[in-house]
């Protein structure tokens, strides 16, 4: 599968891009979409992405900022 473009003020390297793709995907599929009242049954035990289920947006921003910091370091 491919998510066509994830750009943080320019190009990002492939590993970072993959991570951002996942975070953006989580942000979309967990937070948005049609809801049939009372029919969402999810479990979040024993997984590595649990923090994302709790606050995907926060994680997205932290990752984006980390990418930006790394870019700035490289530019220096």
């Amino acid at each position: 599968m491919s998510f066509e473009q994830i750009i943080v003020s320019g190009n990002v390297e492939s590993v970072e891009e993959t991570e951002l793709s996942l975070l953006e995907t989580l942000d979309h599929v967990l937070n948005r979409g049609l809801v049939i009242a009372g029919e969402i049954t999810i479990s979040v035990a024993d997984i590595d992405l649990i923090f994302l289920g709790l606050n995907v947006m926060l994680s997205s921003v932290e990752t984006a900022q980390e990418v930006l910091r790394q870019r700035e370091k490289k530019a220096e």
Binding site: E4, S21, G33, L34, I40, I42
Partner: protein
Amino acid sequence: MKQYVYCLTERMNDLPSWRGVAGSSVYALEVDKFSVFASDFFGEHVRIDRENVLAHAAVIQQVLNHTTPLPFKFGTLVTEQQLDNYVSATREALQSKLALVRGCVEMNVKIISSREPARATASGNEHETPGTAFLFEKRREIRGEEERAAEAIEIAAWLEAQLGDIVWETQINPNRLDTLLVAVAHLVRREAVEEYRARLKEARHERPELHFLISGPWAPYSFANIDLEFKTHFGVS
């Protein structure tokens, strides 16, 4: 057994077979005037893990390659009867949403400020009691939130002006986090996606103090929700 549902579209035919959540085959159910993409699910809960999240998104993305669907939220399990009831209760709203998103995709922009957030400082009054200090702190917090909300609205308006008529519909979500100013979802016609990217690229140069996280094209996740109206003997509530 229940059905795990991915998305809803206008009636579609002749689609390839896909794998969905938990490796199940995805099929299209004909419900009323719509096709609902679903797979069989044995169990009570859908685990949030990388495989399931990506499988859910992949099915929707593949449907998006054919037509613009209304995605269901991750983890939606229903019986056929519940699905029938839902569709018949919301038929008009679903049709109207499908008409809105037809031929479009969603593009997202998250705008992050590169400025350090303002930190609270002491009032300087040495006689300040803990209660007064708390109220000062609260006032600073509220002012900070108001300033961020105003900045978010200003940036969203500026962004819309830059993008012009290629944006069909906009959803703005001002954010309370210190550095993420605003998350904007744009509904853009498929043929205008390249133009959208080009205009955003140009616009970024005007605001070097901001960082832009741009993603898409997505199915219209941010434009899928329907506000239900419950008709009663006393009117609509």
